[in-house]
Structures are given as structure tokens and as C-alpha cells.
Assembly symmetry: C2
């Protein structure tokens, strides 16, 4: 079974928004807080709500998965007081490609998994799929890291955004978060 | 965007149920009719309702897709007065496999796409994904064919069910339908 998560933008939530930047496509309304919860949260009182499911692996091979599992860190580490929530949408051209064509752009050309590996275990990541739910974004990725690793995280993003895969992204918002003290 | 379809079992609908057979796992309650509609149908008054989205290709390569597109028939042909609705669920073991491991079982070992190709264009097929929606079945496949091709369809199912891929299926119900005259 896939696990649904809700990301609720508004006045409440454990994460304080420190920056919202639209890289591509339509912006999301500015909010002060983001609440992240398992399940289908109500959108009552929210400025926006994004949803996605943690699903099966779509591109990684058995060999890549073994390496990832050996080094990746979980979401929720105490020291990871900073986070980034990055919803993205890919173009129709991308989704109409065959599996081998998408895999070739994802990894063989763009080295998506390989780039991510360079930043483990410091940058924890959880990917949520929204496309089949009819959500406005195809993916919502949550990244968590310690303040000391924010520059490292920005470096990773810059490398990913320079890949051929990113040419298929037609909406992207970068929301930076700080674990709220109150 | 993915397209949602609903399959509503009950007393109403354009398809009359001629047989319901549980091949594996829990049965579905017997019904007289099935209503198939685009969108999220209400389950009020239904004995059961299944949902799934037509989504992107998960295993087929560009070469395989080109062959499929050249010969496949659409859902809704006038002469296709018989149909089969086959909801299936795959095991956790399957979903925990990496992409290359699933692809290898799906095609290189089980020849899923290749077997299906042998029955085109007579057997039309539309695949709906339910797993990421939290549905009880991972997939609902709708097949449509003319009465003269039912034996051919049964032959295709027998070949698919004998594959290694089918060892990962832990729930399967085979619902045969006839386009209702009234």
C-alpha cells in the first residue's frame, strides 16, 4: 500500500517558511507555515494543500537501490532543523515517453540518482507522487538537513537543475523551511 | 494529467455480468451489472466500486510502444459486445523490487507485452492504476472483444497466468461482461 502525505500551507504547522521561490511556471501563494502530516489533511483554513504518495521505485536498478539503502538517512533526524519542500511538474512530452526513454534521460544522461548519492547521508529525502492523484504537481520532494549542510544542498540542486531531465520540468517551486521553535 | 475511471458493481450499468470468478485472494460480492464511467463515481447504492487512473507507461520500451500503437484497437468498438474486467493486486515482494528487476520479470522472463501483441487488434485493452490511490486492487484492466474472439481472449489469459509474473499476484477476480440490450 502506498502512503499518502499532505503538505498544508497556511498559518499553522511545525515548519516556518523562510523563503518561497518560483523557478518555473505558476507560483504558489506565500504562506508563513507548512504543516506536514501523514494521511489526507483537510484544506479548510489552508492557503494551499499539496498531496502525494510514497510509492514504489520508478527508475532505480537493484544495484543502485542497494547503494542508496546503505547510505541514505531517514526523515525526522533531530539535527535536521532545515528543510526544503520542492513541488515539480513535468511536461506532457516527458510523460508520453516510453519507460526506457525516461530512464535514459533520468540516469544515463542526467545522473539523477548518482548526483543524489554524492550528498548522502547529510541530505535526507522523501519523494511523494501526485500525478496519478490528479494533483497540480507530479512530485513533491521533502529534503531535510542540518543548517551546516544548506550550502551542500544548494550545490546538489544546482547540479540537478543543469541536467537534461530538468528541461522537461514546466513548474517548480522551492520552499525553504525552518523547524519552528514555537 | 492522469484520467480517473470508476467501475461500479450493482444493479445498474451498461454491462451485464455473465460470470464472476475469483482466481486468487478475497472475492468481490456478486453483482448483476457493472457501470463504467470516467471520473470519480459515487459509491451510493453500489455493492462495490473500483477506481483506477490511466497513467504513463511503466515498462514498455520505445520500440515496444511503437509496435503496440501501430496495431492496438481502442475501447468502445461497436462489435466489441463482450468485455472482461480483471482487478489484480500484486504482492509486497513485487513492489519492493527495483525497476530493472520488475521489468525483467514483466517482459524478459514473462513476455507480458509480447503475449498481448499476439492478440491485437482483436482484444482491446485499457489499464487503470489503483495502488497509489489506496485502492484495494493495484490494477483494473478492461478488455473488450467481439463474441467470436472470446476463446482467443481465454487463450491469452491462460498464457499470462502461466508466467513467472503471475506468481506475484495475490488477488485476482475475473468478471465477464456482456453489453446489456436494455
Amino acid at each position: 500500500m502506498s502512503t499518502l502525505f499532505s503538505f498544508r500551507g497556511g498559518d499553522c504547522g511545525a515548519w516556518r517558511v523562510t523563503r518561497m521561490q518560483t523557478l518555473c511556471g505558476e507560483a504558489l501563494p506565500s504562506v508563513e507555515r507548512v504543516d506536514i502530516s501523514a494521511g489526507n489533511a483537510s484544506n479548510e483554513g489552508a492557503d494551499w494543500i499539496l498531496r502525494g504518495v510514497v510509492s514504489n521505485i520508478r527508475y532505480a536498478t537493484g544495484r543502485e537501490l542497494n547503494v542508496l539503502k546503505a547510505v541514505q538517512a531517514p526523515i525526522g533526524r533531530l539535527e535536521a532543523t532545515r528543510a526544503a519542500l520542492i513541488p515539480i511538474r513535468k511536461s506532457t512530452v516527458w510523460w508520453d515517453l516510453a519507460q526506457d526513454e525516461r530512464r535514459a534521460i533520468f540516469e544515463d544522461t542526467s545522473h539523477h540518482t548518482a548526483i543524489g548519492l554524492d550528498y548522502l547521508p547529510q541530505i535526507a529525502r522523501r519523494l511523494h507522487h501526485g500525478r496519478d492523484l490528479g494533483e497540480p504537481f507530479d512530485f513533491v520532494t521533502l529534503f531535510e538537513y542540518a543548517p551546516a549542510h544548506e550550502a551542500m544542498f544548494d550545490d546538489m540542486l544546482a547540479r540537478l537543475r543543469a541536467t537534461k531531465e530538468w528541461a522537461f520540468i514546466d513548474r517548480e517551486v522551492d520552499i525553504r523551511l525552518d523547524r519552528a521553535a514555537n
